[in-house]
Symmetry: C2
Subunit: 185 residues, 2 copies
């Protein structure tokens, strides 16, 4: 099992595809890990029979420590639950730290919420989504193939997943006739 | 003239090629801005007749402020001065902050120096160079076409250029028969 390097971190060259090389930790989220995310609870429960992998997060060895700038590749597999697109759990940084997502393959979107208003940024290869400090963020696969992006974030940002379960993300993203259909949460 | 956004920064989608869109400040470094960088002073002085642009740094509007995560695209034009490849001034972050460079086009290298030992990371499209906190860094175009990379760095890192003029970068990077020739500074 790969893991984060202990500081001091040496300079390194990192290449990436679905994983990063050299590799850090790899996180796999199955449908059963996503309790409470999808509006249609019955559809979510039905999906547990196969319990598919919804997304994977492959990190570089750069640790989540103050002063470092870790990176990861997230791959969200295509699909819907009760009409709602596959998505990440979403989180907010306990410390006010910005983050960038850079689209690598497939199409998706970046949903942001500051507790008051939501924002939606369509994502594709070559676009950067900027997540300012103080905004919760979630990624959504709005296409028919895997949606993959590179994340770069300060090592001391932290991850608060409970905030999203308590506050929602402002919008739900469903499949519509002409692309993503954003509905009030 | 484009400039940095004043916080609070809104979520935004940023696309890029040679520039970023929406655009922040664009910095142009001509040969005359690079006094003291190249070992061959006579060759540098001769190059001032044409005073070519050596590199450009195009920033996104995300400001260099604490908590933000600004980005920029650097394009180093190909060329040599007294056999030494075109390069950036190089700097170290006054605050110990990591940074990443992501190769976009052309070939080059990332030269790092911690004041004691130098490191050299070859760069090409799709490779990330990780700059740990505490390492001075400089980029070098080792090819025949423009070398372009995306930089992502914490907004409170700062830039100390004087450190490099005082301490050097450990290596000089000259054109050799079989690629870059690293010589002691």
């Amino acid at each position: 099992m790969s893991s984060f390097v202990t500081p001091p971190v040496p300079p390194m060259r990192i290449t990436f595809d679905a994983r990063m090389e050299p590799s850090g930790p790899v996180l796999t989220r199955r449908m059963s890990d996503l309790r409470g995310l999808f509006a249609d609870t019955a559809a979510w429960e039905a999906s547990l029979a196969e319990d598919p992998v919804v997304y994977e997060v492959a990190s570089s060895p750069v640790p989540e420590a103050e002063g470092e700038l870790p990176q990861s590749i997230t791959t969200i597999h295509p699909g819907k639950v009760g009409g709602e697109f596959h998505m990440t759990k979403g989180h907010i940084h306990p410390r006010p730290r910005g983050e960038i997502y850079l689209g690598l393959s497939g199409v998706g979107g970046l949903l942001l919420f500051d507790g008051d208003k939501p924002e939606w940024i369509p994502m594709e290869p070559g676009s950067i989504g900027y997540i300012p400090p103080g905004w919760a963020h979630r990624s959504v696969n709005t296409g028919d193939e895997p949606y993959r992006f590179l994340a770069v974030y300060p090592g001391d940002a932290g991850h608060d997943y409970e905030w999203v379960l308590r506050n929602g993300m402002g919008y739900r993203v469903l499949g519509g006739a002409d692309g993503p259909d954003l509905r009030p949460f």
